[in-house]
């Protein structure tokens, strides 16, 4: 079979696991440079294997009888529950997992290289690279999972890698708080994921993707037939699974952890919180797409709505933020919303599945230009030692490489042709239009907002007046520049990949054509957004401030991120901590334990009261005995008679 020729793919994650164990266990015994080189060598090797797997799959063994098949080159029993419910550890190759292999290894390799420059001289350099390897291992395990439970396992492991890396600067309280928040919010979402898995597997008797996503197998019918509170159990299960995806992918209202996660080192934000882990939710829905589309279209509507809403919501917030990493974080949330929207509006089939293709396409292009934006932001932060736009200005003269690559990425995300974002965004909007025009218009508006906030950032950082800098800002050192240039090239070319030839909802290749009207509209609004940004921020003036003053309500709500964090704080602090945990602790000490102590006290009191009876005086005892005997005798006579 063709599966044998891919059996080497099992080494892709294992190499990284080995690197993690080696660097993690030896840690400080290794020189920082050696630790970094081990991890980097591991990811480069993994990338080579991933590229060869992609070439072998897309241009060879993957295509059989006119469509891309799913291959399982490796599978091993890990834990058996019942005869059919078993957790296996395996490697699954299909168009989207192979594509993700390329994305993850590429971005991860670039981040490894970039970090040599960015993290130079940091304490805990070895620990940093160990965690990067752990993350890459977990992420690759996630994308290649053959069954839901394997995916859940690696899902949790990427979560913990993210926790460890956000909290990398563990002596900084804000980083500690952010890491905790990220873990707990996603963990809460994963509760839904887990219950969804349990519910789905109870009816389908399987965790395997291969079995679940088989169209016409009838395996879903039993779950689709049972209804609970007005929806089929299958719909419930899929909505719950989507909840897990929404948590990881920072969809509203579970998005609050992602902006705070920017406390982590910037390369980590690029890798985990822009390009790879945060799109895991999109990948999850795509992985189960056949189940969603064929078994529970209602759940897919939820995905579309949440995606459309989040993309708009986050874009509005991004406009007013001044921390450059936070702008990018909200931009990421907004773009992932796009991907979710595309999946939600997609049908099952080849042409009908345009949204599916578009979503995966955007995931791919976004990974490149968003990683580039973050790495560029990292280079800026590295140069000026601040995250705030107010501390920046005129940097294009000092940081030419960073400036040029950042500009490419900003144009790409704004959807200016012929850069990558243009093509994928065009497909998303076309698919949305085919499903429900309102989704198209909101997506179109978001495209304008995106161009605006991106160029607001760009102009304020790279143009305008110089600020007071601690030292003359220096451009990225070679290790960082390599990564920037590589990703800039990728952002230029990947848009030209004929994606629908490789990735489609049912595995059948097809050809898409440009949607000229959609393209014209979206380019027009992108240019308008850039123009507006230029008008407001390129010239000295107070237009922006006056505009903010003109709309005080909207400005304040956007600036304060619609107070969602405050709502969460109220729920956790006031409801759960003060309303539940403290009262329970008090109740336990005073009521439950108090009852126990009360019983002991009562026993002691009673014995205190009656201990006088045991006086040790013989006369008393004799007296009591005689009295008792008489009483007994009387009773006996009475009852006897």
């Amino acid at each position: 079979m063709h599966t044998d020729m891919f059996s080497y793919t099992v080494w892709i994650p294992l190499i990284l696991l080995a690197a993690f164990l080696l660097v993690g266990l030896l840690s400080d015994k290794l020189k920082p440079l050696v630790a970094g080189l081990i991890s980097t060598a591991a990811i480069l090797l993994a990338a080579v294997l991933a590229y060869s797997a992609a070439a072998g799959y897309f241009f060879g063994a993957g295509l059989q009888d006119g469509h891309y098949t799913t291959l399982i080159p490796f599978e091993q029993l890990w834990l058996r529950f019942t005869d059919t419910l078993v957790i296996k550890m395996g490697i699954l190759l299909d168009p989207i997992s192979v594509m993700m292999l390329v994305v993850v290894t590429t971005v991860s390799a670039m981040v490894h290289i970039y970090s040599f420059g960015y993290m130079k001289g940091e304490k805990g350099f070895q620990r940093y690279y160990a965690f990067l390897s752990l993350f890459s291992f977990s992420m690759l395990g996630l994308v290649m999972a053959t069954n839901l439970f394997q995916m859940y396992i690696f899902w949790e492991l990427v979560g913990v890698s993210s926790y460890l890396l956000i909290g990398f600067y563990y002596q900084r309280p804000s980083a500690v708080a952010a890491s905790k928040k990220a873990f707990i919010v996603t963990r809460f979402a994963d509760l839904g994921f887990l219950i969804g898995i349990l519910l789905l597997s109870y009816y389908t008797r399987t965790f395997d993707f291969m079995t679940l996503t088989q169209p016409n197998s009838g395996i879903l019918s039993s779950a689709a037939g049972v209804s609970f509170m007005g929806a089929s159990v299958l719909t419930w299960a899929l909505v719950l699974i989507f909840m897990g995806g929404a948590g990881k992918s920072a969809m509203f209202p579970l998005h609050i952890w992602l902006p705070d996660a920017m406390e982590g080192p910037t390369p980590v934000s690029a890798l985990i919180h822009a390009a790879t882990m945060v799109v895991a939710g999109v990948y999850l829905v795509a992985r189960l797409f056949a189940v969603y589309a064929l078994g529970a279209p209602a759940a897919l509507e939820v995905v579309a709505f949440i995606g459309a809403f989040t993309s708009l919501f986050a874009a509005i917030i991004a406009i007013t933020q001044t921390d450059i990493k936070r702008v990018l974080a909200y931009s990421t949330i907004s773009q992932i919303g796009y991907m979710m929207l595309a999946l939600g509006v997609s049908g099952y089939g080849s042409e009908a599945g345009l949204g599916y293709t578009a979503s995966m396409f955007h995931l791919f292009t976004h990974a490149m230009f968003k990683a580039l934006l973050f790495l560029g932001a990292g280079a800026v932060i590295h140069a000026v030692h601040s995250n705030e736009m107010t501390d920046m200005g005129g940097l294009r003269k000092h940081l030419p490489i960073t400036h040029f690559t950042f500009l490419i990425a900003a144009l790409a995300i704004s959807g200016i042709p012929p850069l990558a974002g243009f093509f994928s965004k065009d497909e998303i909007l076309a698919a949305a239009h085919g499903h429900y025009p309102l989704y198209f218009w909101s997506g179109w508006f978001v495209a304008g907002l995106t161009a605006f906030y991106m160029f607001r950032l760009y102009f304020r950082v790279f143009w305008g007046e110089d600020r007071q800098y601690e030292h003359k800002p220096h451009d990225a050192p070679p290790s960082m520049a390599i990564a920037l240039i590589f990703l800039a090239l990728a952002s230029v070319v990947v848009g030209f990949i004929p994606f629908s030839h490789y990735v489609s909802a049912n595995g059948e290749p097809y050809t898409t054509h440009m949607h000229w009207q959609v393209a014209a509209l979206s380019v027009a609004i992108a240019v308008a957004g850039i123009g507006l940004a230029a008008w407001m921020y390129l010239r000295p003036g107070t237009v922006a401030d006056r505009l903010a003053a003109a709309m005080p309500g909207l400005y304040k709500w956007s600036k304060n991120k619609f107070y969602i964090d405050e709502i969460y704080l109220w729920v956790t602090r006031t409801l759960i901590f003060k309303g539940l945990a403290w009262p329970i602790a008090w109740f336990d000490r005073h009521v439950v334990d108090g009852t126990m102590n009360g019983m002991a006290w009562a026993t002691a009191q009673v014995s205190e009261k009656i201990k006088g009876l045991q006086s040790g005086q013989l006369q008393q005892y004799a007296y009591a005995m005689v009295l008792g005997a008489v009483a007994f005798l009387l009773l006996l006579l009475y009852w006897g008679a």
């Binding site: 834990l79 957790i87 563990y170 002596q171 539940l580 403290w582 602790a585």
Partner: protein, 498 residues
Amino acid sequence: MDRLSLLVWVPVITMIVISFFKDPKKVRLIAAAGMAVQLVQIILLMLAFFAERQAGNDAEMLFFKDIAWYSNLNIHYTVGIDGISLSLILLTGIVIFTGVFASWEITDRAQEFFITLILLATGVFGFFISLDLFTMFLFYELAVIPMYLLIGIWGSGPKEYSAMKLTLMLMGASALLLVGLLGIYFNSAPDGGPLTFNYIEISKIHLPEAVQYFFFPLTFVGFGVLAALYPFHTWSPDGHASAPTAVSMLHAGVLMKLGGYGALRIAVMLMPQAAHEMAWIFIILATIGAVYGALGAIAQKDLKYINAYSSVSHLGLILFATLIFNQVAFEGAVLQMISHGLITALFFALIGMIYSRTHTRNIYEMGGIMKVMPVLGTAYMVAGFASLGLPGFSAFVAEMTIFVGSFQNSALFVRVATILVISSIVITAVYILRAAAIMLYGPLRKQEFELLPDARWYDKVAVFILIGAIAGMGMFPNWLAEMIYTDFTPMFNRFIAN
């Protein structure tokens, strides 16, 4: 001498040898050597067990041995093991061995301390090999009584109060249990013939239902108190807080499992009808325990209290799983006993080590100690991740087995309870990460902590063995899971047939 009795004799001989020495340094070496021998013999026993099973010996109990020791009442010394008791014996062996290393710094009356500690372990080993209810009960008491001395003499804080409270509550439970066990005994021959204490024999007959309804709650609660069944769990926080390190390890790690084991193997398995009818009451209590314990842990400041409430929560899961009545859930209950035993032992060991350096267990008085003690801090994080059910560690395997098992019961009541119980794992993440954030991270709160030493060699022995066991079970779970699942089959079939 038979193989299983050796499990009792090795600790006894160790105690006898210790009694000839007074010097703490010698005493602890002897204790360590004795428990090392014990651990090795358990591993050999395990290999022998696998060999027997491989050879096709599918008797329910292996290494069976039966001696009548009071034939008037048909009381026997009957021993035998299956995969379930064997895995708990392995747990006990690991915890007592690492417990000796966690007690390395004890110099006050070391001889008496180690003798009492090993006496406690002897009782536990005896309990797990016994198939005769009477003998089992004797060993059970042998394990509970040394607790009083260990806490009362070597404890800290309000140790007399805690020791008294713990002992009285457990003795109260023992009284219920004794009534329950005697009730079973006196009805063990409904068709005439000799009465028996042998629980394998009893499980083959059908106890009259009226008897079951009366004695099931007594037995379940009797064992349940030891497994921190809500609302009879309050001995646990005070008891743990006052107990010396190794005693907390052994108590939460192993002794509380006697409760879960007994509740499953004796109460549920011998009285299936009553268990079935009354399950709802205890499912409610166990669910409350799981969620309430976790919420209670959020509000604690003392590391030992956090861990004690966490134990209430995790043992709630065990008791819950014993009441779902399917083989996967039962398997999960046993896996959770082992997993929680190892993790909580690691936690208490680390808390003891941290306390011996900082002289406080209040998390707010610490802060930033990760920088000073990276090994202990990292180990604490590992324990935390294991406890909150991260894949790759044992608790994930155990909890998922319980959840998958419970989900196979589609009654709405059980489903709701299951979902509530599952939600406790989110709360677990909250209290674990909260404690870690306050205690380990941030800037160093007290400058005098700057010079505190990190783990010493004996600390590392205890910590690394426990982490190894937790990760080993978490990464390669299937051999253990299959062994437990398979060995549940005969018991489960009788349970269904009844």
